[in-house]
Each structure stands twice: as C-alpha cells, then as structure tokens.
Symmetry: C2
Subunit: 331 residues, 2 copies
Amino acid sequence: MSKSVLGNTDLDRMLKTKMPAIGIDLGGTKIMAAVINSEGIIGEPIKIPTPAGPENIINAFVEIIDKFKKEHLVAGVGIATPGIVNGNTGTVIGATNNIPGWAGTPVKKIMESKTLLPVHIENDANAAAYAEAHSKRLKNKTCVVALTIGTGIGGGILINGQLFHGANHGAGHCGHIRISFDNKRMCTCGLFDCYEAYASGTGLLATAKEMLTGVSAKQSPLAQDIKALKNADIFAAAKNDDLVAKKIINEWHRHLVMGMISIAHVLDPDCFVLSGGLCTFIDYELISEMLIDNTIPAIGDNLKIYKSELGNHAGIIGAAQLILDKLAKAS
Amino acid sequence: MSKSVLGNTDLDRMLKTKMPAIGIDLGGTKIMAAVINSEGIIGEPIKIPTPAGPENIINAFVEIIDKFKKEHLVAGVGIATPGIVNGNTGTVIGATNNIPGWAGTPVKKIMESKTLLPVHIENDANAAAYAEAHSKRLKNKTCVVALTIGTGIGGGILINGQLFHGANHGAGHCGHIRISFDNKRMCTCGLFDCYEAYASGTGLLATAKEMLTGVSAKQSPLAQDIKALKNADIFAAAKNDDLVAKKIINEWHRHLVMGMISIAHVLDPDCFVLSGGLCTFIDYELISEMLIDNTIPAIGDNLKIYKSELGNHAGIIGAAQLILDKLAKAS
C-alpha cells in the first residue's frame, strides 16, 4: 500500500507529506466527501444520498474516489462510518441500525483492493473528534472529549492527540452514560436512563412531551398538537419568550450537563467540544456555569466547553487527517 | 538524585534494577510502609498511627525510611497519599480534608532533601490501581479501572499500563460520577447524587436508614435503633436471612453498578478491580450480571469485574512499583 509514486523514495516521501487525502463521511441518509490536506478542504465537498445495501455504498465510494483522482494526486482515503469499527482490520463490527447490512463489512480490505490506495476506517464520532482536537485552538491538549448532540449522542476521546478506542473498540459511547438509576425512560438502545435518552434531540422531544402534559394551549401554543411537536417548534417558541418552552429548554440544558459531569470526574479533560445538529441551540455560558457548579473545584475550575468550529465537515476532515497522519508515521 | 551507589555506572544500573524500594501509604488514621521489590513485600510491613500536622507526618516518614535503610539497600521511596497530587512537582495540591494542613505540602522536595533518595508521590487510589493493574493477572491490558469502595469511593485509571492523570491531575475521581439528576442526596463533597453518596459505606448506611423508615423492629431487628446502625449490622443481618437487610444489600449492589455503567460506556475498559473495606461484602456474580444487563453488548460482553488480590497492601506496593519503574526508565 505504500509503493513509491514516482519511483524515488525521498521525493515520494516529500510529495506524500504535501499530498491531500480523500475524506468520506457515511451517514444514514447522505454521503459527504472532499479532498482535504493539512490546511483544510480543497474545492467543494460532494454530497449524495446514501444508497441501499453495502454493495451500493461501496460502489458509491469508488465512484467518488475515481472522480477526485481525476483532479488530484491523493495519498489515501479516510472513511468515517457509523457503528463500532475495528481500526486494525478496518471492519465495521457492529451497531449500525440506520444502515442495514453494513455491520460486518470489511470496508478497508474491499476499498484498498478496488482503489489501490491506502484506506483508513474510523467511527464517525471519533473521526469528527479527531478533527476538532487537531484544530489550532485545541492542539497539544492532554484530553479532549468531543460530543455530537443530534438525534442521538456520540462521543470521541482524544488523549495526547490520539483517539482512545478502549479494550474492544467501544470507548466514547458517551450517549449511554447512565444519568438516573430510577428506570425512568428507555433509550432507543433498550437500556434505561441513558444520557442520550434525555440530552439528544430525541430526548429533548420526550422531555417536552412529558412537561406539556396538562398544559393548556392557552398557556403555551406548543400544547396545541403535542403529537406533531418538533424540536424546531420548541426552539422557535423559546425565542418568542414562551415561558413553557423556555422551561423545557432549560431542563434540556440541565440534562446536557449531567453526562458531562460524569465524564469530567472520570477523565478530567481540558475541554468538551460540542457538535451535531443541536449544538447551535445550546447556551454555552449557561452549561459552563452548570458544569462548574456540579464538579469538584480541582476539575471544574479549568474545564472549558467549546462549540465545534468545523460543523458538519468534521467527519470528512477527521477521516482524511487520520489517513494522512497514519501515512506520515509509516514513512 | 540518581548518583552512583558504588561508583561504577554499569554495576550500579544492574544493582538498581534488583534493588527494592520503600512503599509508604499515608491514611487518615494510619501510615503503612514496607520494603518492596518486583516480587512483592520483603519482611513485615510497619503500621503506625498518623500523627497530627504535616511536620510530624514528614518526621514519621523519615523515621520509617531510616529504620528500613539500616536493613536494606533501597533504590528509592514511593509515597501514596490522599488528595490530588501533582506528580511532576511532587506536591499535594488539594482535597485532603481528613489530613488537615497536608494540602500544599511539597512532599517530594522535602523528602528527597531529608533522605537523599529519589522519591515519587502518587494519589493513594492511583497507587493502589497501579499495583492491581500490574499484577500478573492483569498485565498487558488496554484499560483497567480500579475502584476503592470504602467510606468514600476512589478510582484509578490505567491505560496501556500507565496511570492516566487527566488535564489537571484529577482523572479517576469516579466517586463523583453523577448517578441521578434529581438532587436527591447530597455527597460529603457538597455536590448532589454522586456515585459515592450511594455506593460507598457512607452511602449504604444512608440508603439503609431511608429504607428502614416505617419498618418496625418486628419486621427487622435493624429498625430497633436506626441512629446507632452500622454497616456491619446490615451485613450480619443479611447473612442471617433478614429480608429487609437483604433488600438493602441488593439496592446497594444496584447502586454499585450505576457508576460502573457510565465508566464502561466512556472508557470501554477490559475490567474493573474493586478494593477497599467493603469489597469483601460484594456479590461479584450479581454485579457482573447487572453490569452486562445495563451496557451495550459490544462493551458489556467482554467486561470483567475482579476483586482486589492485594487488599490493603495495594497502596504500598503501587507506590514502591511507581518509583522503581520510574528509576528503571530513567537509567
């Protein structure tokens, strides 16, 4: 996989450190991809709908790579995917309900044989975490915890700049931290009282529906059609000074902090970086205060919460950086 | 600090790798110490009451070391202490309410100047975790989390055999994981619903008192004098098939698992090792089942819970191993 591009090893090495890689982010509904070097994205990212079935997904990857290869000399391909990934074998080993049939696919092996490029596979939350932690503002930190606040909650842990994968590729499943022992609310994973059952988009909506029980439409327009309620309605109402909506949002912020309190006491990180669809609706000053109030001073006093700088490009950037850094180490 | 013992550098190095170190474990009520090499404790450990005030503690350390030095050629001294420790400077930087005046003491600096031996200082839970994780059974694991279940709950995290200290020396404060968001019970630290407020000895007693409210002395002898109740009474009653005591113990086991669930999803460790005064009263089969039932399969299926092999010697062994390993690396 590391054959000389130009037949001259030194020149090859020099070129490779400057060469970009292709970053691909596979999602349940869309695939995003771009050519990326150490400075960032080159040109415009590609966005296509995720096709059905592993074979079609692999074909879509190959088409994207072929297209980019016509315009760029690339060093490799990084792929961010949902699910638990065995980074050593490059296989998706589990937990990808939103992409049926994907678990078990030896993605790295197939893609390397089809493209003749070195390929690295990483869990999507980890890839995004890698990108965030390697941004200028967070370089050289001891410990960065990245959380993706969307339909669910994903996480990635960086220790001295490297992703920590745990004993069985499962580290960073922060959405399943347990924030209550009362068996109050079941998570989509089947466990009770997971962090993401409260603090994700799904969790916020569940909290809103609970809190709106018994509220009249006169008190809050949100109560008019609870079945059809969406998170966007709650955010809009809160912006319009609807007191009930404001209380729901405040409770969501309280839930958001609960998982961070536990992570903070276990890892004593430098900071949290929050990304995902809901991260723009978070009051960062409020959760920072709440977090400090609920941690022992030695840990809380130095702890920061940042909003993602890379937004929904974090996955492709992290995937590309991972293969570039892997190649740089190997050379 | 690494001057030649015999004037010959090579011989010196050879001897040093075989030389034992002194391990000291400072507690709120007693100081334990022993001479330790890679095989374990040499001779009998010393146990003396903890004197009042930092100066007297330091003098006690020096006396212990002088006594051991008369019988052994030692390579260095490892000291395990309560509180947050800055391992770089060797200073206790905070949180040691049970040893008034101790926080702020530059232990390493003082001890090295008084003994002319290399000294390493480590938090006591971390030192114990280091010893457990370096035992034969757990060597070469990716991630070991050691929890001390006593009056409070302490923790230590080992990643690839090395202690993880976090950004500000605070990692492993697992007792302050938050296990409920309801502000139900205040912890001795002043925060609400900490893991140790439920799962420690203090927590168990609080749970028992809550559960015994409204229970008559006829239903359970434990209800006779709730104010004077001790954990030993509850364990004894449960052994005698007191149904109320059994329910209290079962609830304590449920609480014990709650913190582990969160740690498991964050770190995906190979195993937990439990030590501390209450670790002999734990039903390991029961909590293992509970833990697996409450974690996602990718993490829970491979997760083990072990009882400490080293008991209350873990602190002195870990402290001595830490200074020995540090000296081996430096040579």
